[in-house]
Symmetry: C2
Subunit: 303 residues, 2 copies
């Protein structure tokens, strides 16, 4: 594949310094910032910090049926053998299930929750589709962490996502507290692209989804950003929601508590930002990681 | 070695349930509880929860020379080869330096700080000596965690410490925050002894000081204690102090931040509780882990 220029070069043989992002964070023009459902202040906060936290966005009781379904999946031996299911390194525990909205009607409907969808459309100023969905289990005592990374860095290099016009909604399925490995984010980090060192091997995802080594920003860049804006780990009961921009650096620590931490992730991409060939030059990753077959705009359920 | 009965059986081939501790936590009789320097309330808190936290016990500026000395050790190649220096698994970073008070006059004097020593003597109602000292470095991005454990469980089985009349003072040498792997404790856990499963191999310490597998309580017991009293992770600036009982369950997570977390530990044992042969039946561990040669009562410096 030959391309004129890769705007977000990464997985390089030599280090290249971080640079300011080229794309807007909030795609909504100023005059429509207050059109809702988010207030103009909330939109500006997302623009500035790269994420928004909504404690109890859904009521805990609304989550019960979802949680029950997830518990059933956790004990489903067939599902453990499925390609979209990632196990903990060397272990029997499920780390992630990808394509959860394709496995379950209930979760599929949740991707089209009217309130959620309106917020996403407001921020991206566009119709959207699901690029990826997953549940990250993090069982008590056993759940390992996720190293610092920008999702966009991977999705661009390994999946061919052209630009930054995409975001993740993470719905907390179990109470997240200080000790069960909550999502950590670096506010403001979404404003920079950090090229990472190291060529991407074919089928890298088979390792990277267990332990991520490639696509982890260098220590100097991370230190710079952490010293500038610190780290935040929003905590709250089941039903809480974190919306974060596709280039916001995030990670999480191991779960050393007895309390499981399951977080659901829906990745919404703008229909104007559909996938091309992977920029790393490898063959595309499987559909369960990067949707290449259904880019129809999502329609809100019950509307 | 034959003994009538081991009061704290552990490292067993079969699981044995947890049981209430046999020894008092606070050894001071009720009528002398207010004799200071701790108030009777503080003593009761220690008795009930198994630890006390003193934010900025020492002034940050008092710590500067200590911190500088620790930074010098971190870059000392000779020290990396010393038996009392433990490196991170497969890495070049220093994880711990044992016997810090024997390496450094400055740290030796700190073990005999009059205020600190008075508190320790009050809680143990006894003259004391240093059973072990160490610095745990936890460098930014690289520092790994410590699994849940009771120090007493190891000191009893591997070092022959007869009873629970011992405590640790942990002095925070760098600011401890939510993200650099602060010490976590389970309040109230010191009231129970949890026998652990698994025979102790000879020279177990060569592995256990890097990654602890043996001597980690079972999940059911940990879950029970965490659900009863949760987990706490005291945070504060350099110079803060955590005093915790030798049987209080504690651990810490990896340091995923850029901010190093170095904690100093002085273990004070009662002179009425000096070491015997290890209860696991192995040969004693090295002197840098378990002092068997100098049980003279510590005298306060500058008094």
């Amino acid at each position: 594949m030959s391309r004129a220029q890769d705007l977000f070069p990464t997985r390089l043989e030599r280090k290249l310094g971080m640079f300011e992002r080229l794309d807007p964070v909030v795609h909504t023009p100023e005059e429509r910032l207050s059109d809702g459902p988010l207030t103009a202040d909330q939109v500006r906060e997302f623009d500035d910090r790269g994420f928004l936290f909504f404690e109890s966005f859904f009521d805990k009781s609304e989550m019960e049926k979802f949680i029950q379904e997830l518990q059933e999946y956790e004990e489903d031996e067939d599902l453990k053998l499925s390609e979209g299911t990632i196990l903990e390194p060397g272990k029997e525990e499920i780390r992630s299930i990808f394509g959860i909205h394709e496995i379950s009607k209930r979760f599929d409907r949740l991707t089209r929750d009217p309130h959620l969808l309106k917020i996403v459309r407001q921020l991206l100023d566009s119709e959207v589709y699901i690029h990826q969905s997953r549940i990250n289990y993090k069982p008590g005592f056993k759940g390992k962490g996720f190293n610092w990374h920008s999702d966009f860095e991977t999705w661009h290099s390994e999946d061919g996502m052209p630009r930054m016009r995409c975001l993740s909604c993470s719905i907390v399925m179990t109470d997240n507290n200080e000790f069960n490995g909550p999502l950590m984010l670096i506010p403001g980090s979404h404003k920079y692209f950090i090229p990472c060192v190291g060529r991407t091997p074919e089928d890298n995802y088979k390792e990277s989804l267990k332990i991520q080594d490639l696509g982890v920003p260098d220590g100097a860049s991370l230190t710079h950003l952490m010293n500038e804006n610190a780290i935040e780990a929003p905590k709250g009961p089941a039903g809480s929601l974190i919306i974060f921009e596709c280039n916001t650096l995030h990670g999480s620590n191991a779960n050393m508590s007895c309390w499981p931490r399951s977080n659901l992730f829906f990745v919404y991409n703008s229909v104007h930002n559909t996938l091309t060939e992977p920029f790393c030059g490898n063959k595309p990753r499987p559909q369960f990681l990067a949707n290449r077959t259904n880019w129809d705009p999502l329609k809100p359920v019950n509307d």
